[in-house]
């Protein structure tokens, strides 16, 4: 079983459209949406939730104002400025470290467990999808991603599937690292803008840092061919294989508006490129398998 993670540094590069197309093209696979913060894949896959689980993680402090003698110690020790002048804890700022509860001389502070989100195992017409929803303004996205990936692996093993395809979150921080670490191959979806190049460079470094082989796909490569050349040069000198160059194609946007994977929406140029891209990736994933075995 091989795990492919699709990431882009920033969003808006067509990452989720490509992930949804892979969902339609791949056989014997499990799908994971690792963007637990602002998930989009479900808009296309339209999952039917089979299993709804609570995600418990972290704690928040609560002050019992009846007991509090307003000594001010908790406010002084809190590094996250989470305790206001009236001795009320702002749950959004509180990182749950528990120091205030330990120092309070009259035991006025209790720590309560948080349930920052939910995670789901669902059926879609393309197979099983494991996904999650972190509540608004909640913490611990990295842990939630790790949890759903672990669950996804277990299911894929049970059903002896060949591939896990996950749609990764934006950025380079904690949820991205949680999505990448231990994956077999990362597909980086980029576009030929200066911001796109900058983000690509950062995300390639993260992949290298965590030892995940990276492949690149340049979407809308023809909107700025000069920048595309720059990306190619960068990828060549960093041993990142470019596995697709997809031209700007309106059918990508139209498919999105119809909430369909582009490969099912029309047999457009983009569709043909994405089909070829998936073939390339299957090749790379199989190579990754043999390399690991030898």
């Amino acid at each position: 079983m091989k795990e492919l993670v699709i990431i882009s540094g920033k969003g808006g590069t067509g990452k989720t459209s490509i992930a949804a197309s892979f969902a339609a093209l791949a056989q014997r696979k499990l799908l994971v949406d690792c963007d637990v913060d602002a998930a989009d894949l479900h808009l296309i896959l339209k999952p039917q939730v089979k299993e709804n689980n609570e995600f418990w993680s972290g704690q928040s402090a609560f002050i019992d104002n009846e007991k509090c003698v307003e000594c001010g110690l908790c406010e002084k020790v809190c590094r996250f400025n989470a305790i206001t002048n009236n001795y009320v804890v702002d749950p959004i700022s509180c990182e749950g470290c528990g120091l205030c509860a330990r120092v309070c001389p009259v035991d006025a502070i209790t720590m309560k467990d948080n349930m920052p989100g939910h995670w789901f195992v669902s059926e879609t017409r393309y197979g099983t999808l494991v996904h999650a929803k972190l509540g608004i303004a909640e913490d611990n996205s990295g842990k939630l991603v790790t949890l759903i990936r672990t669950r996804a692996k277990a299911i894929a093993q049970e059903q002896s599937l060949d591939y896990i395809i996950s749609d990764g979150p934006p950025g380079t921080g904690c949820p991205v690292i949680a999505s990448l670490s231990g994956a077999d191959v990362a597909l980086l979806v980029t576009e030929p803008t200066l911001s796109g190049i900058h983000d690509l460079e950062r995300i390639v470094s993260v992949c290298q840092h965590f030892g995940v082989p990276a492949l690149a796909c340049i979407n809308k490569y023809d909107i700025n061919e000069q920048n595309t050349a720059k990306i190619e040069e960068y990828c060549n000198s960093n041993s990142v294989n470019i596995v697709a160059k997809i031209p700007f194609d309106n059918s990508m946007i139209q498919a999105l508006e119809h909430e369909m994977p582009v490969v099912e929406f029309s047999n457009s140029t983009a569709t043909q490129h994405i089909r070829a891209l998936w073939q390339n990736i299957v090749q790379e994933l199989d190579d990754a398998r043999t390399e690991k075995q030898t």
């Binding site: 808006g12 959004i92 303004a137 934006p170 950025g171 993260v206």
Partner: protein
């Protein structure tokens, strides 16, 4: 006035808006532009501003003085993030798990723990004309984005107007970036994804109690998708930037919209004045 620019997801044109707004305002007044998208800071691509000052963003992590330590295990017990393990003869610190909360050093009975700064990012500052750019950048492989954002925001100077470019999403880094703003502009695009992400972003600003307005980027034939939602939620649409190949080309080259197409300056100034009018004057941080 502090105005933050955010979006439910990346790639909607957040940085385009933040830089164009800052540039338009800078014709008349001093503006601070804070790049709080520390995982993917991009403002410097659009603004030709050299970093004059660069300082590390530090996270305070514990250092154990083995001579003083009695291996009592208190530090490991109090750490809520399992960042310390107390073995019978040695105390191990795992810096990548540490949140820098200070509990271990505060509670160590032998005062055997001191704190040392670990660099997890850099803050770069520079000026050009009336714009002062403060940009945070998270070191790759690090996870503590909120700490770097907090460090950027320590530089806020409300003597002038402040524009904040936030990171995408609805979780901790975004909250850290937009909280304490007087107003939050949410940038979206007229697609089902855009609408989904916008509704999450609106929930976020509501939860924080920040007044909100919407900007539709790549506007066109499908705007009614966003319009209908905004009407239901009673959120004003403050600006539309059309889907236009020329604008996309400027963006791909890193040219700010208001420099490539100076007519847009007027629109951004109007946008800013509308925001001002919408806010009760007494509450604006100045």
């Amino acid at each position: 006035m502090i105005v933050s620019v955010a979006s439910g997801k990346g790639g909607t044109g957040k940085t385009l808006i933040a830089t164009s707004l800052a540039l338009s305002l800078s014709d008349q007044t001093k503006v601070q532009l804070l790049d709080c998208d520390v995982e993917e800071p991009n403002t410097h691509i659009f603004l030709d501003i050299k970093a004059e000052q660069s300082s590390p963003a530090l996270l305070l992590i514990p250092h154990i003085d083995e001579d003083k330590c009695t291996h009592c295990g208190v530090c490991a017990e109090v750490c809520a993030y399992n960042a310390i393990a107390a073995l019978p003869k040695k105390v191990l610190v795992f810096p990548e798990l540490c949140h820098g909360c200070g509990a271990c050093s505060y509670l160590c009975p032998e005062s055997a723990i001191t704190e040392e700064g670990k660099e997890i990012g850099v803050i770069k500052q520079g000026s050009s004309g009336n714009i002062r750019l403060v940009a945070g950048e998270l070191t790759l492989g690090e996870v503590a984005a909120p700490t770097v954002i907090r460090e950027v925001k320590r530089h806020i100077d409300t003597a002038g107007d402040v524009i904040i470019d936030a990171s995408p999403g609805t979780s901790c880094p975004v909250i850290e970036a937009i909280k304490d703003s007087d107003f939050c502009l949410l940038v979206t695009e007229p697609t089902p994804f855009g609408l989904n992400d916008l509704s999450l972003a609106v929930e976020t600003t509501r939860k924080l109690g920040i007044p909100t307005g919407v900007i539709i980027n790549r506007a066109g034939d499908n705007d009614q998708l966003i319009e209908q939602y905004c009407q239901e939620q009673d959120i004003p649409i403050l600006l539309r930037i059309p889907l236009d190949r020329n604008i996309a080309v400027l963006y791909s080259k890193g040219i700010p919209l208001v420099e490539g197409m100076p007519d847009w300056r007027r629109d951004f100034l109007q946008l800013f004045h509308r925001i001002k009018e919408m806010l009760p004057t007494a509450e604006v941080s100045r």
